[in-house]
């Protein structure tokens, strides 16, 4: 049940999604990855990918134009 952070601030699409996929592959079931983004299209494609894979996703707006995406590895 470890928690990891991935800093994607300043990265434009599709880099946040690619980095998330790469990092997520090494996680165990139950682990949580928090992806920090400031590119609004990553707010769409990162959760879309994670939900399609069947993981639990939550988005939190942490500041003006900044978000944290919480992804819990479900399987």
């Amino acid at each position: 049940m470890a928690e990891y952070r991935l800093d994607c601030l300043g990265e434009a699409c599709p880099v946040p999604l690619l980095k998330t996929q790469k990092k997520f592959a090494g996680l165990n079931v139950g682990d949580v990855l928090i992806v920090e983004i400031d590119h609004s299209c990553a707010m769409k494609n990162v959760p879309e990918w994670a939900r399609k894979e069947g993981h639990n996703v939550e988005i939190e707006e942490t500041g003006d134009g900044e978000w944290e995406i919480y992804i819990e590895k479900a399987k």
Binding site: L9, G10, L18, G65
Partner: protein, 177 residues
């Protein structure tokens, strides 16, 4: 109730609109523009005019260049930023985008993360600029307006934009991952 929690505010101002809404609005606006202006929407040709106006002011004439044999381009040389519709529309895109991001409280000046991003932006920008001239436009002028005008060049553009995007994504993974 706070404004940020109002569902209409959320749907219209805060969240991204559905793709279909955007597509229909773009189509209607492009038709309107075509009726009013006589030519459909384009973004990159004004950039050429900006450069040509600067060149004519500081360096010398461009009127004898092959590109300006085209009567539309030649006529544009005598316009200015504020008398040329395409230039004003490009300004409008920037002002509109600024307004929507401010209204949604999502405006942020992003930090440059690495020197690599700078190089990629400059190289990418130059390649796109060069590409738009030999393809007669960008995603807007060549694809969106080209295909909607039943011009074959719009479809040829579409095939090659996929090839370009495929190569671009390989380069992206190689240099940014």
């Amino acid at each position: 109730m706070k404004l940020e929690e109002n569902k209409y505010f959320k749907a219209v101002v805060k969240n991204a609109w559905p793709y279909t809404v955007g597509a229909v609005l773009l189509a209607l606006l492009n038709i309107t523009l075509f009726i009013a202006n006589g030519s459909p929407w384009g973004v990159t040709t004004p950039f050429v005019y900006w450069a040509a106006w600067i060149h004519e002011t500081l360096v010398g004439p461009v009127r004898d260049w092959v590109y300006f044999n085209n009567p539309t381009h030649l006529k544009a040389l005598d316009l200015t930023f504020f008398t040329h519709g395409g230039s004003l529309m490009n300004l409008g895109i920037i002002i509109g985008a600024l307004f929507t991001s401010l209204a949604a409280s999502q405006f942020k000046i992003r930090k440059i993360k690495s020197f690599r991003q700078v190089i990629a932006a400059i190289v990418g920008g130059l390649l796109m600029g060069y590409g738009t001239r030999i393809a007669f436009g960008c995603n807007i002028g060549a694809f969106f307006s080209g295909v909607a005008s039943f011009s074959l060049h719009g479809w040829v553009y579409t095939i090659f934009i996929f090839a370009g995007a495929w190569i671009g994504s390989k380069l992206l993974v190689k240099f940014f991952m």
